[in-house]
């Protein structure tokens, strides 16, 4: 594998100094002159008609500048996200979950806004509510959206071959139902937005969004303003994980700003963040797999119900559940039927993994069941049946590279596969589990998937990378700068990055589907190559040298025709900017579409220790080996994987979402009771990277943001089985569930 001077290096983040010195400005840190503070009045009921909103007293309260409700808010539906339906009217005639928006106030302070909320009088007609995703589609269930029969928000069906025949052919047929819970992103920064109209009617929005360019378009559409009058800026962003792919606060702050002609800041508090933004789809997956005695799969049939909550938000996760279930393994006969259903709960939407996480829990658990039943080693089974390079993977896309075999081999070695820790005594039992993973980079053939980049040279030969990409802590600004510097031939400290401002930077697809490095990186590489080409053409003309015989390395130009004393990029840039004749600027640009939606692979191994007296499961060690194509910045990649382990362990063991079954209210909407792992709870984590160098990614790179979540839950569930011989098909696997299961077995 070719080595590079900048790409592949463990460079610190470009913005790490700002973050470690407290100088990084997040949306909630920004203050504008005359800025108002907004708060939202939320429904206490899971399902109700909003008959009457009387805001007069609130409006009269000193310091209140505007109140929004169904009395004065636009009746048009909010286009909430890319690829999402327009289904929700802001401040609707009806509320559909505890926390749904009823009114909003902009006031001179948060305290005054809070007080104003208390003065708004609302008449509700409480309606029966439904929370169960299987009950909700039965006749007689309360209808949540008038135009959606039986509370079915979306349906997906896929069929290949003949599964009936496949099952008849099989020597063994396995059937299992898996249940995965909802999850909350719990980003440390909550949703925040500042909206400000200037005197010319131009709207500027600073937002904690993962999609500044889509928000720009969606806001322009919703407010009926031309996009040239909408600017969206993403300041520092404190985590998103998919929760900030949806327009949750931006449009409300914009409406209030338009009403008051003052900047308005709207920040979710932690309770709202947990209960009234976006969540992960809970799912019920029925999986039936047919296998021959030698382990070949003959048929896979799956039905899935994704609990979409009060609003659909996006159909994508349902689709991806299907892909993950039926397209990860080689099998000729496939069938998937999925439904996203409405319930009166917190809406579900984007969450790292996006349906593939749910699918992986099911399919990787099932594969473990099958392998054990057939007496085949779980790793060998996967090597035999997993999709390989050249196969068609997810979403009808060809697999362009795969390092899975190396991932499994490396991971097995690191975790000590095949060796049980017999040192444990008394009530403790240890076990090891494995899970594979596959995830497509980007939304090619589904949603528009392209980004653009500018590489601008300054007169002193340093460069600026202008990208619309939203760095939410993923370090993408640094990674993309590495790609630019490497391609252009500058030293890393000669390039700076400006990002995520719809006025100043070119279009970016947004931070989702694990494709920033893969797609935006491609745009950056192409833009840098374009800038380099312009530079070398200029040099070629000036020195009568052929540009194709020239190259740039470390800020110097080399090749045929270059004088002995050498030539620096700095010298060229200075000359070009000052020449009396022939002066020019150098600006590289590219618009780049996802070329092939490469698939990222990986293998997760887990060692757990189960306390058979209490049912507590301790993860002792987590080994995560990822086929990253090429790691542009290995330190950044490791960080992503390690963070995903924390979220994955929470998903499978501790992050229960408790909902009051009578009222539909989330009971643990705070950090004390929603159990994300603390530093004391994390196991030993070992990350391995495999680099098969994908032919379609920039320098061979592929994505890791979501792949890193996929194997944690099933590896742990499989390890628990290895430890105590009990298969858990429902997550989270709490101590109580383990205890009861062990009891029942006795």
């Amino acid at each position: 594998m070719q080595e590079y001077t900048i790409v592949g290096k463990r460079l610190p983040l470009l913005d790490a100094v700002e973050k470690t010195t407290g100088r990084a400005l997040f949306t909630v840190d920004m203050d504008l002159p005359g800025m108002l503070h907004a708060r939202i009045l939320r429904s206490p009921y899971a399902h109700a008609r909003v008959l009457h909103v009387d805001a007069r007293q609130a409006e009269r309260l000193a310091g209140v500048k505007a109140v929004l409700s169904k009395n004065n808010a636009p009746r048009s539906k909010v286009p909430a996200t890319l690829g999402g339906p327009k289904e929700k009217v802001a401040f609707d005639e009806k509320v559909r979950y505890v926390g749904d928006e009823v009114a909003a106030v902009a006031a001179v302070s948060k305290d005054v806004a809070e007080e104003a909320l208390r003065l708004i009088k609302v008449d509700y007609e409480v309606l029966p509510a439904i929370f169960d995703p299987e009950e909700t589609t039965k006749p007689g269930s309360p209808l949540i959206h008038e135009d959606k029969e039986r509370n079915i928000a979306a349906s997906v069906e896929t069929k290949v071959g003949d599964t009936e025949a496949g099952f008849r052919e099989a020597d063994y047929v396995f059937e299992e139902t898996f249940r995965t819970s909802s999850q909350r992103h719990a980003s440390m920064e909550t949703h925040a937005s500042i909206a400000s109209f200037d005197v010319s009617g131009k709207l500027t929005v600073w937002s904690s969004t993962q999609l500044p360019f889509h928000i720009q378009r969606l806001l322009a559409e919703y407010l009926d303003i031309p996009m040239s009058k909408v600017r969206v800026v993403k300041p520092y962003l404190g985590g998103g994980f998919g929760g900030k792919l949806h327009m949750v606060v931006e449009h409300i702050s914009a409406l209030l700003s338009r009403m008051t002609q003052r900047p308005v800041r709207l920040v979710s508090d932690r309770e709202e963040e947990f209960s009234a933004t976006i969540s992960r789809h809970a799912s019920i997956i029925r999986l039936k797999v047919g296998a021959a005695r030698d382990g070949t799969l003959t048929a896979i049939e799956a039905q899935a119900i994704a609990n979409s909550g009060a609003y659909l938000s996006v159909t994508g996760p349902l689709r991806l559940v299907g892909e993950g279930l039926i397209r990860s393994y080689r099998c000729p006969n496939l069938k998937f039927q999925g439904q996203s259903v409405y319930t009166n709960l917190t809406p579900a939407g984007g969450f790292r993994g996006y349906g593939n996480t749910q699918a992986h829990f099911a399919i990787e658990s099932m594969v473990d069941v099958i392998a054990r039943r057939l007496g085949i080693d779980p790793i060998k089974f996967r090597l035999k049946n997993y999709k390989k390079m050249g196969d068609v993977g997810h979403a009808n896309t060809l697999i362009t590279s795969s390092g899975l075999e190396d991932c499994l081999r490396m991971g097995a070695e690191k975790v000590g596969w095949g060796v049980r820790d017999e040192r444990v005594t008394g009530a403790k039992r240890r076990g090891k589990g494995v899970a594979c993973l596959i995830h497509r980079n980007g939304t090619r053939l589904g949603l528009p998937d392209y980004s653009a980049a500018f590489v601008k040279l300054n007169a002193d030969g340093t460069a600026l990378l202008l990208i619309g990409a939203a760095d939410l802590g993923t370090g993408c600004c640094t990674t993309l700068a590495q790609i630019a510097a490497q391609e252009l031939g500058l030293n890393f400290n000669e390039i700076n990055v400006v990002a995520a401002d719809t006025d100043a930077t070119p279009f970016d697809r947004g931070a989702f589907a694990s494709a920033t490095v893969y797609v935006t990186g491609g745009a950056v590489k192409a833009a840098a190559a374009d800038a380099k080409q312009q530079l070398l053409s200029y040099v070629g003309r000036r020195l009568h040298a052929a540009p194709e015989n020239l190259e740039i390395r470390n800020g110097q130009i080399y090749g045929e025709g270059i004088p002995d004393k050498g030539l620096t990029v700095r010298e060229v840039a200075m000359e070009a900017s000052q020449a009396r004749e022939g002066a020019r600027a150098f600006l590289g640009e590219a618009s780049f579409e996802n070329p092939a939606a490469a698939h990222s692979f990986g293998a997760h191994f887990s060692e757990v220790e189960v306390d058979t007296e209490t049912g507590q499961v301790q993860v002792v060690k987590m080994v995560a080996v990822h086929d990253i194509g090429r790691a542009i910045n290995p330190m950044v990649v490791e960080g992503q994987v390690e963070g995903a382990v924390q979220q994955g362990i929470g998903y499978v063991l501790t992050e229960n979402v408790a909902v009051d079954q009578r009222t539909g209210k989330m009971l643990n909407a705070d950090f004390a009771n929603y159990m994300v792992l603390t530093a004391m709870d994390m196991p030993r984590v070992e990350v391995g990277l495999v680099e098969p160098v994908d032919p379609t990614g920039p320098f061979g790179a592929k994505g890791v943001g979501e792949p890193s979540t996929l194997g944690v839950a099933p590896a742990i569930a499989n390890a628990i089985y290895d430890a105590i011989g009990i298969r858990f098909t429902e997550i989270p696997i709490t101590p109580e569930k383990v205890f009861q299961a062990m009891r029942r077995r006795e």
Binding site: G22, H185, G238, G473, Q646, D670, M682
Partner: protein, 157 residues
Amino acid sequence: MAEALLTMTVNGDAVRLVVEPSAMLVDVLRGRLGLIGVKEACGKGACGACTVLLDDKPVPSCVTPAMKALNKNVLTIEGLGSPGKLHPLQEAFIDHGAVQCGFCTPGMILSAKALLDERSLPTEEEVRVAISGNLCRCTGYVKIVEAILSAAERMRS
């Protein structure tokens, strides 16, 4: 409106403010003194983002009445090193990739500083206990722990 006089030292500077008696320390630091490096992420003292050092002890400033800082020393992240002259902990966080989104970082570093001021060569277990009240959703704490142990070594020599 009720008033109280709050005198304290913040990042080495004497401060004298008239505050509401029920003001929280986080609001005085962020709102009145512009120290936006002090973050608020939950308002209930349950996540550690608002950690500041009060007379050298890490406290949750979002549930600490500002008046508890009367005549005391407060250290926020802004008082620890500066661009160009970073504290070893800040350097270690940067070098080890222990920073992702950066929202938990100020509080995390201050909890670590309090530990290292007490205990110059902590064990990994002690590091994990010291930061157990600082939640992070991005890093899994792996490189944070590595960075703190590394800074401890650096500070010792």
